[in-house]
Amino acid sequence: MIDPAYKKKMVVVEGSYAVAHSAKICRPNVISAYPITPQTHIVEDLSQFMADGEIPNCEYINVESEFSAISALIGASAVGARTYSATTSQGLLLMHEALFNTSGMRLPIIMTVANRAVGAPINIWNDHQDAIAQRDTGWLQLYVEDVQEAADTLPQIYKIAEDNEIMLPGMVCMDGFILSHVYEPVVLLEQELTDAFLPAFQPENILDPLDPKTFGAFAAPDTYEEFRYLQEQAMQKALPKIEAVAKEFEEVFGRFHGGLIDGYMLDDAEIIVMSMGSILGTVKDVVDEYRARGEKIGVLKVRSFRPFPKEQVKEAIKNAHAVVVLDKNISIGTNEGALFTETKSCLYNSNVRVPVTGYTVGHGGRDIRAESIAKVIEETKKVAKSGIAVESRFLDLKEELL
């Protein structure tokens, strides 16, 4: 039951609008973006805000490619600007080289990724292959479940990324179309509350003629390794920071979407379904039906994929009889999705002995139906009873097309 006073604050807007509005409220100084479906509505809304003079002290650069979108922000961030972009799919892949560059230079650039499949075959619908392919680039990656979380996570990730102890770039990953184009009731971020929550960006090092510094120097084998080590250290520092910032956000705004992870019906769960993104809504609906029948099924939402919350995941699943991971991506050649691989990996050298199986699902935007989730849960119950028969597989494969 939603508090009537809170309900009054809610408006029905498109997911992209909520995100663009949130980006605006975070007071960016430089926005740089290139249009690509399904990210377009975000940048169109931001362009309109600019045209209406609604984003003070901000320059919007209409670049000629995603590669230049991220590159322009590298220059801008180094000058001390708070920066924002949004992209997806092929655009994110085109940025790949510069993503490493951004994190290596410790520039806290923030992007919304409206997750979409990658070609070939060309496909504009949602899966997570685009962002998962960037998992090693040194960016924070937070995956959101609904429109409100997509909007609310922006000020959170700015606060995490811009922390002087962290200084890492970050992407908020929201499912393309499913969240970017859906109209949902949300509370749009309030400027005053956001200003109180998110301090101004004040980096220690900037490009300033009065205090000249060198950015992006060349590092030989005698110094290179320490740069990577320090990035990893920063990621580890981000782990508690993500939790703390989510709680601070809750104190200020009254909403909590999880920190590193979030649980649903988890405490006594014998079977746990793990996943990331909007699919969790469907999973929760299915779990509600199981719970109504008295079956102990729970849901583990992984919100932070980078840094990967090994300890929290272990703790959350340690008492389960079986865990099943749904991945909207695949590492071709392993027949596994990334979340599945990470989950298994963090259990190996631990005393948590829970059978874990995986499904790669929803490739190229294929609908994931409640019946399919129920089928997955039924299979996982068998795993709990008699062990793993198939470790990882595709869901809803159309055998007749093969």
Binding site: N29, E64, G75, T83, L207, P209, T214, F218
Partner: protein, 296 residues
């Protein structure tokens, strides 16, 4: 440099070759622009030799990101200065080689010029990928032998003339495009200064002979740069809003052989059968420059 020469803001002690053209180009650029400058430097010899962490030769703020994105990085630097109310008189200069400018970075550079950012791009054109070992670029001149366009039994070297990069930049509507040469430091400093004082995207294309890549003695860098101008293979001119407004005259142009014979990259033209005919073609290109730019 004389005692009255402007101060420069790149320190010696970098690891550039003796007689390095990039070191000259960077030095003259900063002598023209002064200390209130932010440098964007794409990947290349200059970046590698001047910033071996934790050392840096740069006495101005400097950023290197990638090979092909200097135009975009400079766009972001300029936009951020504006947004933060810090632009004032600060000059944003991107300085890159022919490969990062004319080949891999031309997309980002074109975008930056089309959008009209207030910055200056300086191309140090040493006519091949020197940092990676003298491979051909679109700046490599006709018949130059490089490691990927070597002269051989059936080849005189690079089969194509240089890309006319200044014309491309002028076609973007740039208010100021100029060619210069490190063989003429005062010309280069004057043009850089002028370019940085003009509002909008301005472009300086500096011819920069590379001792290692072209094959000449390390003491001859500036001499050979001058010879390129004196043989009319490198015309020096200024374009304002697309029109040529100033040309450096060459009273008595010297034959191109005088330039070609100083460099190993053209050596085959003097030993191979048919080399004479090739040299005639190169002379014809110089003659075309004389006529087209009114060099005499």
């Amino acid at each position: 440099m004389s005692k009255t020469a402007p101060k420069t803001y790149i320190s010696s002690g970098h690891s550039g070759c003796a007689g390095c053209c990039d070191a000259f180009a960077a030095k003259f650029t900063l002598m023209g622009s002064g200390p209130d400058t932010i440098i964007v430097n794409p990947t290349g010899c200059l970046e590698v030799m001047s910033t071996p962490f934790p050392n840096s030769s740069w006495q101005v703020p400097w950023i290197h990101s990638l090979f092909e994105n200097a135009g975009a990085v400079a766009s972001g630097v300029e936009a951020a200065l504006k947004a933060l109310g810090k632009k004032n008189n600060t000059k944003v200069i991107a300085i890159g080689g022919d490969g990062s400018t004319m080949d891999i970075g031309i997309g980002a550079l074109s975008g930056a010029f089309e959008r009209g950012h207030d910055f200056t791009y300086v191309c140090m054109d040493n006519e091949a990928y020197m940092n990676t070992g003298i491979q051909r670029s679109s700046g490599t001149p006709y018949d130059a032998s490089t490691t990927t366009s070597p002269a051989g039994k059936v080849s005189f070297g690079n089969p194509r003339p240089k890309k006319d990069m200044p014309a491309i930049m002028a076609a973007h509507g740039s208010p100021y495009v100029a060619t210069t040469s490190i063989g003429f430091p005062r010309d280069m400093m004057r043009k850089v200064k002028k370019a940085t004082e003009i509002v909008g995207p301005t472009y300086i294309h500096a011819h920069a002979p590379c001792t290692t890549g072209w094959g000449f003695d390390t003491s001859k860098t500036l001499e050979i740069a001058k010879l390129a101008v004196e043989t009319c293979l490198w015309p020096m001119y200024e374009m304002e809003n697309g029109e040529i407004t100033q040309v450096r005259k060459v009273k008595d142009p010297r034959p191109v052989e005088e330039y070609l014979k100083t460099q190993k990259r053209f050596k085959h033209l003097f030993t191979m059968e048919g080399g004479d005919e090739e040299i005639k073609k190169i002379q014809a290109a110089a003659d075309w420059n004389i006529k087209h730019f009114g060099l005499q």
